[in-house]
Amino acid sequence: MSSREQILATIKKNQPPLVSLPEISQNTMSGLPDERVSKFAAVLEAIGGQVVPVDSWGAIATYVSKQFPLPARTINLVEELANDHPLAVLEKDPHQLESVTLALLKGHFAVAENGAVWITETHLGDRALPFICEHLALIVHANTIVPTMHDAYERIAAGRPYDFGTFIAGPSKTADIEQSLVLGAHGAKTLTLFLLSGASDA
């Protein structure tokens, strides 16, 4: 008997009578849209992210030019910013991204309770990009912020299927040395979150 068959047979023999799955319900905060935005911004700032409220794509482009002047290597994958920051064409080998100073990407939506932004390969260009870049900037429409992770997974279920998706909440960090918080462990050292007010098309 193979290990697979053996393991499955032992489980079948040993598993207890079926216990039904609970319903998932929540009463945390459904929250008004304004409350979601302020909660999201406050939580993200608390975990080391920098929130930049903007009301136009132009404001993002200007901010990026000012904060990351050339010769910083910026990878922009956001079409709306293409006039000021040409759309990047990525090499096939993700190792080539090691020298990227700033990656500029759109998130699908964000979660108020924990400051996380959901992003999948359709917006990532290369799966390695948000992890290997030195600085990461994500753009999220204020009206896409959902209250909790339960709402997040409802939204994910309704969206397009993905091969790889990740929640990113703030910059990479570690507290492994005597519980001292250090931002920038292996991934991005900073996270700038452009919170865009106006209609959503993300």
Binding site: I7, I11, P22, M149, H150, P161, D176, S180, V182, H186
Partner: protein, 463 residues
């Protein structure tokens, strides 16, 4: 490199005794972990439905255990449809062989690994090192203990027992940082540079698995550092190793578990990265190794099966008064603390017979557990099983029998109390000496002149 647990030489009490010799360090260790426990409390109290969440998580896990056969088959089918190769390992040895054979086929010897308690349980690093494979642990805390030749002392905070000055010294020796520099910011930056080079040159990445979803065949890996993702996204081969109990039924259940996991572990609202790996990227190979190693047997035990609900958050360690003052290495098992103490005897009752006794049975572990495992009840039940099977020492047995004898006779009980009070008052050295283990690291309060019973009888007559 001897990166995993040594063969056991001393029991928990002896190892804790060694740790306790440095009182200042014990206090520091205790406070650091209590600080993490307090962060957990603050995070939990911010959610009005925290207790409801714990209950829901517990019920989902009970459903998983009662339907594991179906979920594993469903998961395997989905994962295979996603282009993932699924392997089954009956025990640690088979797991290690499978991982090695995947690596061996590529001819590559440089491997990066992110945190996985399962691979610690299986002693994978030792096995691969013996086969000439160079495995580097990429979580900062795990890298620190790996450089030091130690196993992690905590499942979430692997080097919680190390002081920054010692880490500075270790990095000076291994990474060439300036001697005497112990600034966490500086040391973490040095580790980033050191490990970035490994990420860039390791075509194989091993990761653990936090959750595996039966419905979709995807796995979720959570890190703060981004080390799992950097490893996987730059590698040609991704090997994910998981215990069979990591399965959850549907993706929407992640909403429950991701709300609980980081808040319970460190007090964060969520880890920085929660990555969902469904399909390998084009050209990449992805393997998932499903490991039993005693879990399917444990499933048959009504008393002990619920330990399989564990999501490895470490909250029970941070709150445990014994763990905080005895250190993770005193448990001589890959998973320390209360949860480790109920898991370890299931794997090897003889070797781990001491661990269920490394507890005051205060119940704090069960109270913070995000999936409501009755940890302290199981510690108590393990003691019964161990005693029945003859794994309790003669001294403990004799002591217990003596106590039962005294407590069952009121006259003898009163007499012993009076004798005890007299000795502790007038001849304290007769009991407070090295022959009496109760006095180790303890100072007893001054004994009163009379017992409550004596006082009560006297005062009752007066009124």
């Amino acid at each position: 490199m001897k990166a995993t647990a040594e063969p056991k030489t001393k029991d928990h009490a002896a190892l804790a005794g060694t740790f306790n010799k440095d009182e200042a360090r014990v206090d520091w260790h205790d406070k650091t972990l209590w600080f993490v426990r307090q962060k957990r409390d603050k995070a939990a109290w911010q959610l009005p439905d925290w207790e409801h969440l714990r209950e829901t998580a517990s019920q989902i896990k009970h459903n998983v255990l009662s339907n594991l056969h179906h979920y594993l088959e469903a998961f395997e089918k989905q994962a295979q449809q996603n282009g993932v190769t699924v392997h089954w390992a009956a025990d640690a040895e088979e797991h290690n062989r499978i991982v090695h054979s995947i690596i061996h086929k590529t001819g590559i010897t440089r491997v990066v690994k992110s945190k996985s308690m399962l691979t610690e349980e299986c002693h994978l690093n030792d096995y691969l090192a013996a086969q000439g494979i160079d495995v580097v642990d990429t979580d900062l805390g795990e890298r620190i203990v790996q450089l030091a030749g130690e196993p992690p002392s905590h499942i979430v905070l692997p080097c919680i027992h190390w002081k920054k000055e010692e880490i500075g010294q270790l990095f000076h020796k291994h990474l060439g940082t300036p001697e005497g520099n112990s600034d966490p910011q500086f040391l973490a930056a040095a580790a980033r540079v050191h490990l970035r080079e490994r990420f860039m040159t390791s075509p194989i990445a091993i990761t653990g698995v936090n959750f595996a979803i039966a419905e979709t065949g995807e796995i979720v890996v959570c890190t703060n550092e981004g080390n799992a993702d950097l490893g996987v996204q730059l590698a040609d081969v991704h090997i994910a190793c998981m215990g069979i109990e990591k399965i959850i039924p549907q993706r929407k259940h992640l909403g429950v578990f991701l709300r609980l996991l980081a808040r319970s572990a460190t007090g964060q609202p969520i880890t920085t990265y929660s990555s969902h790996f469904r399909k390998p990227r084009p050209g990449q190979h992805m393997h998932i190794v499903l490991v039993d190693n005693g879990r399917s047997e444990r499933l048959g035990s009504a008393d002990f099966r619920s330990a399989l609900k564990c999501i490895r958050c470490g909250a029970c360690m941070n709150t445990c008064p014994v763990y905080r003052r005895s250190g993770g290495h005193s448990y001589h098992y890959a998973i320390a603390g209360p949860i480790g103490s109920i898991l370890a005897p299931g794997l090897d009752m003889k070797k781990n017979a001491d661990l269920p006794f490394a507890s005051t049975l205060c119940g704090s572990c069960s109270n913070v557990c995000p999936v409501k495992i009755d940890i302290h009840d199981q510690l108590y039940k393990w003691r019964q099983v161990l005693a029945k099977n003859g794994y309790v020492s003669e001294t403990k047995k004799t002591g217990m029998k003596g106590m039962a004898f005294v407590l069952s006779s009121p006259g003898l009980y009163r007499f012993s109390g009076a004798v005890g009070r007299w000795f502790t008052r007038y001849l304290p050295f007769a009991v407070n000496n090295s022959l009496n283990p109760w006095y180790k690291q303890r100072e007893m309060p001054q004994a009163p002149k009379e017992s409550f019973g004596e006082w009560y009888r006297k005062n009752k007559k007066k009124s």
